[in-house]
Point group: C2
Chain length 264, copies 2
């Protein structure tokens, strides 16, 4: 038994196969379409074996979410390390966010399910904590940029305001927009043609409202965003890969700049 016995490797592989199948089911048939029986059937194992990996259905969902969140954190960290003025780094985070959505088109649906208290409560403390960890690390990542901006004099927060408050503004706007986007078919009817652009624009306006220099009226951040996007896209070995996450495409993004995301 060098490091892992054959058996252990087998179990490990099975776990990831369970997640793959579960992910596909969730994407294809939504929350109600995810059934332990059906996963077992597809993988040709008995249901009992499934429960040896995950104590309940909800654990699978949280495991899937945690997988995406790990990658998001990596993307955010990479963005935060972007060389440039703080506000450009924030733009990089925005690009990271967009990348994330493209990499995991299903993520927000997962998170939506998870935020239902009756689902959340069934999950294990360990996995819950890991999710919180990712979340607060992401916030910390961005608030770090805010602090840098304050240190360099680009930004002065009003009395009583904290960097985290500003980050909460970006976060809630982004989260809200993505959730609405993922679940609403008829935004166009309402008059919102390009929601993604609208989001980016509104984020910029929010920062302008905080007088974060250089303002979006003084500097063309769309150019920056595009530059970052092309730069990052070039890193991907297979840019035209299937949109639906298949474990591999994840690795391509991640491997470009390994950031130790040790946790839990």
């Amino acid at each position: 038994m060098a490091v892992l016995t054959r058996k252990q490797r087998e179990v490990r592989d099975r776990e990831s196969r369970i997640l793959d199948v579960a992910c596909e089911m969730l994407i294809e048939h939504g929350y109600h379409g995810l059934s332990m029986d059906r996963i077992a059937e597809v993988l040709e194992y008995s249901k009992g074996t499934m429960y040896q990996h995950f104590s309940c259905k909800e654990e699978i969902i949280l495991a899937l979410a945690n997988a995406s969140l790990t990658d998001r954190l990596a993307l955010f960290r990479r963005a935060a390390a972007f060389p440039g003025r703080p506000r450009e780094r924030i733009v990089a985070v925005g690009v990271a966010s967009e990348f994330f959505v493209r990499l995991y088109p299903h993520h927000f649906r997962l998170e939506q399910v998870l935020r239902l208290s009756s689902v959340w409560e069934k999950t294990s403390p360990e996995r819950r904590q890991f999710m919180h960890h990712c979340e607060s690390q992401c916030v910390g990542c961005v608030s770090g940029i805010v602090r840098d901006a304050m240190a360099s004099g680009d930004l002065t927060l009003p009395d009583g305001a904290t960097p985290e408050q500003l980050v909460f503004g970006l976060w809630s706007m982004s989260f809200g927009a993505q959730t609405i986007l993922a679940s609403s078919t008829s935004l166009v009817d309402i008059g919102i043609g390009e929601p993604h652009r609208a989001l980016a624009l509104n984020q910029a306006r929010l920062l302008d409202g905080y007088h974060w220099r250089p303002l979006s009226t003084e500097f063309d951040y769309e150019v920056t965003a595009e530059r970052i996007a092309t730069e990052w896209s070039a890193d991907e070995t297979k840019p035209a890969d299937s949109q639906i996450t298949s474990g591999d495409s994840t690795k391509t993004i991640l491997s470009t700049k390994p950031t130790s995301a040790s946790a839990t």
Copy 2:
């Protein structure tokens, strides 16, 4: 049979009782705690009778959401009619939003469930359309204020930007904040102490970013907000009523300014 037979009235009453019980169950035990059998049991009717009112569980949830949304629209309309400069009217909408959250603390949990495609798809087109109606009316209500501001010269949108885009910014930020708030227990850990204030502040900053005059640095909108809040609170006959919606408290808010919300 003057207008409604006794029987018809009886059925009508039962429908609202079903909704009452369902609402309580949802608040108390979450989505999974809502069961048709249990509703029937509580009301001492058979399950079959439940299905004569609502074709499925999801319809009940959507009916509950539509009830809240009707009231929200009324609140928004009232806010939009606030006498003052457009940006003050936007502040009034913000206050309306807060009122709404206080009146229906459970609403965002409902909406979260509804936005799950697998739930949404089971609902009837009629109710779906009604919800869309409320949604677009709310957006229209606010974008109307934006247009007024443009007409009066208080606001000039950048090229290519539409009033709806701005509204989308407010909407997504508010929706995101409320959803995060309703589902996350540990925002304080992350560093966001007063999320409600943070939301209001960020909304103001967003509008500042659009240069919507008077800016929040030139005019104290918090005073305006407080004035509106006290004014509205005074209208309520029973301000210290139970927070949990019980049909009655709704009416008190609504009756202050009847706005015909005909639809479907």
